[in-house]
Amino acid sequence: MTTLVDMQGIEKRFPGVHALKSVNFELESSEVHALMGENGAGKSTLMKILSGIYKKDGGSLRVFGEEWELDGPRAAQDLGIGIIHQELSLMNELTVAQNVFIGREPRKMFGRLDEAALNRDTAKIFKSMNLMLDPRTVVGELTIAKQQMVEIAKALSYKSRILIMDEPTAALNDAEIAELFEIIRQLKSDGVGIIYISHKMDELKQIADRVTVMRDGAYVGTVQAADTEVSQIIAMMVGREVSNETVEVPDLSEAEVVLEVTNFNRGREIQDVSFSVKKGEILGFAGLMGAGRTEVARAIFGADPRESGEVRVHGTPCAISKPADAVRAGIGYLSEDRKHFGLATGMDVSTNVALASLDRLTSPVGVLREDEIRSTAQEYIQKLGIRTPSERQEVRLLSGGNQQKVVIAKWLYRDCDILIFDEPTRGIDVGAKAEIYKLLKKLASEGRAIIVISSELPEIMRLSHRIAVMCEGRLTGILPGGEETTQEDIMHLATLRKPAMQPGGQIQ
């Protein structure tokens, strides 16, 4: 056991934000050191300093016992520090292999590329990850989940001695997470030190040796994962106890059917999907990555075309050809990919919150009611505890989780009576999660119909009044919510495949 990294009293300021206040962190070889903290606590910033992307304003950074001033990503790489960024940073137009080896392409003479070797090496890495993915696939066509796997492969290809993983599992399902943990244990036994950031508490016990907790950019403490209760860690993070009550299914037999979807079809992504949601009901959608839940949601919302299928809202059929129609019909959709489909990241928080509701915030002549927009934004910043210096801050400068909260705020404010949440808690901390769960329940009890798509079974089971399960574009069953439904029941339906077919990127 040698000390790989030793950071002491790290300071970092951004305009108006004191992101890191004298933070300490150290990493031993052959250990998995989890870094926990609420959204905006400063985890990613600390890691960006360690990987040479940000310059630290103060404090000392020692790697392999030597003091270093990292002046760029390359310097960190040369030291053997690899990082998987929280936000995907891939080149969508390039192939998977080209992405993995960007900057280190195998070359022949005169700067000629050795494409064959490139694909071969990539395939090797994928094999070691048991990832079935053609190295020549163009990244832009992959789902976020697969893109995340590519990021992981890329990080592994550096053969780093220090590997930073910033929320690598945010977009992954259990099977893939299990596979990732296998890889991590392997690396560990090879003496690699791993810094692991995640908001999924259950992962701690499985993988972490030590846990360092941050709050509001300050160092709170470091504990041994083995002999510390999760609740205690949560307390360290949030500064209070987080309630963990389970779902109580209301009696909806009398309730009106608000949304009715019948015979949806599109190629092999959506096959004859029909279901309905009642007033005040939370319908959970479970399934493996690639099950087609997002596709169904997008099709209902009119974001993607559909070959056949009818949507009835309050019993009346409505022709939805574009999202505008859906929103007019009272349907809201929170996308799973906030960066591309959820936010105008170049604009400030208040605009993003108001984006779906500007028509309500304008005078007849089209003049914006600026104050109302601002106050609304402030209201939601309070309600959802969005960490931002002000409602005028550009969203791209917010931490990942806080960005997600902004998207949620947008749809909450739009106030539709049918809300589809696709991975609503992706990258959101435990404290905020609990808040959002409360919110969803409140919305339901106020009489809205809610669909929650999530790859986290615990989340599904904790929220859903009924659980729809999809597999390869087919709706394989709808289970009742509450205690009597077990994870096993869901997984059974989620893997109820047509023979001789397996989903894309599924790990065997």
Binding site: T351, L355, L368
Partner: protein, 335 residues
């Protein structure tokens, strides 16, 4: 609420950032420097008459640049402003001179023509998904040709429309304060700029203009009818170009069908010098105005210094690059 204190500080700062004020300030700086420099270099530069000449030289390019700003903020680009201006001028000529209709009709016709052209470009871009560069390049050629066809390749004069030349040559301000006879053309530029700035910052249209440039897909998925808004923005830009057509026509008391090619680059240059990003999502009208002024001051000043014409272009190119570089440096400091 430990965040409280930084919050307030930040919000002031961030207000600056997203109204792009620091860019304005800096663009301003380069403008001031130019003015001072030229005043020192030549006694003839800093005269009321010459300042007015500069403003007047700005008026047309300025109006076009304001129009271009709208389109550029949506993440597009408009290469057709130059020939569209000419087209609108020719339309005014046909209506007023060939058909002999009264002045207001001609004014309306020109602006309507611009709006219609904008509507077309907008439709090509929004509905037909043609890259703005190509859509407006096509429009540029089409309108160039049509102007020649409609006018019979000859200038159309407005001699039988009394008061037409007053549109840009008369001076409402001058009538009130004889001391500064600022021509109406300049007045129109500032009115148009003011109006557009108001639309950009205070109305839904403006807000969507920025949002589209920032992340169109996100806006669409927020249930906004992006196509319709985009078309509206192009149409608005077009009508502004129409006004530009009137200004130049009245200044030359004629519609010159061959005019307009090359004006688009100058307009876009003014926009970008003004700190508006060609990738869309951010930009300011004030910046654009300053950009246009910088270009006008530069050309005028170099002429006043009797710099040989071939050297004038060299210097202009260099200073444009330097001005924007200064802007970049400043921006990196603040960001």
């Amino acid at each position: 609420m430990t965040m409280a204190s930084p919050t307030t500080r930040q919000s002031v700062f961030s207000k600056l950032v997203d109204t792009g004020a620091h860019q304005k300030l800096l663009a301003f700086a380069s403008l001031i420097i130019l003015l001072i420099g030229f005043s020192i270099a030549s006694p003839n530069f800093m005269q009321t008459s010459n300042m007015i000449a500069i403003l007047q030289a700005t008026s047309v390019n300025g109006v076009l640049a304001v129009a271009a700003t709208l389109v550029i903020i949506t993440g597009g680009i408009d290469l057709s402003v130059g020939t569209m201006m000419t087209f609108c001028a020719v339309i005014a000529g046909v209506v007023l001179t060939n058909l002999g209709l009264p002045l207001p009709v001609g004014v309306f016709a020109a602006i309507a023509a611009g709006a219609f052209c904008g509507l077309c470009s907008g439709t090509f871009v929004a509905k037909m998904k043609i890259p703005p560069f190509i859509a407006t390049l096509g429009m540029m050629l089409i309108l160039k040709g049509l102007s020649l066809v409609i006018s019979g390749t000859r200038p159309i004069y407005f001699n039988d429309t009394p008061g037409f030349d007053a549109i840009s040559l008369g001076s409402v301000i001058g009538d009130v304060f004889p001391a500064l006879p600022i021509p109406n053309g300049v007045l129109i530029l500032f009115l148009v700029a003011g109006g557009t700035a108001w639309i950009l910052n205070r109305t839904v249209l403006g807000r969507y203009c920025f949002a589209l440039g920032s992340n169109e897909e996100a806006v669409r998925l927020s249930g906004v009818n992006t196509d319709r808004w985009k078309i509206a923005i192009y149409a608005l830009a077009g009508s502004i170009v129409g006004i530009g057509g009137l200004v130049i026509a009245s200044r030359l008391n004629s519609a010159q069908p061959a005019l307009g090619l090359g004006y688009e680059l100058e307009a876009i240059a003014a926009v970008v010098i003004g700190g508006t990003s060609l990738s869309g999502g951010r930009g300011t009208i004030v910046g654009t105005l300053i950009g246009a002024l910088i270009m006008a001051v530069l050309t005028n000043g170099l002429r006043i210094l009797s710099v040989a014409q071939e050297w004038q272009t060299v210097v202009t190119g260099t200073i444009i690059i330097l001005a924007v570089y200064a802007d970049m440096v400043r921006r990196r400091k603040t960001a």
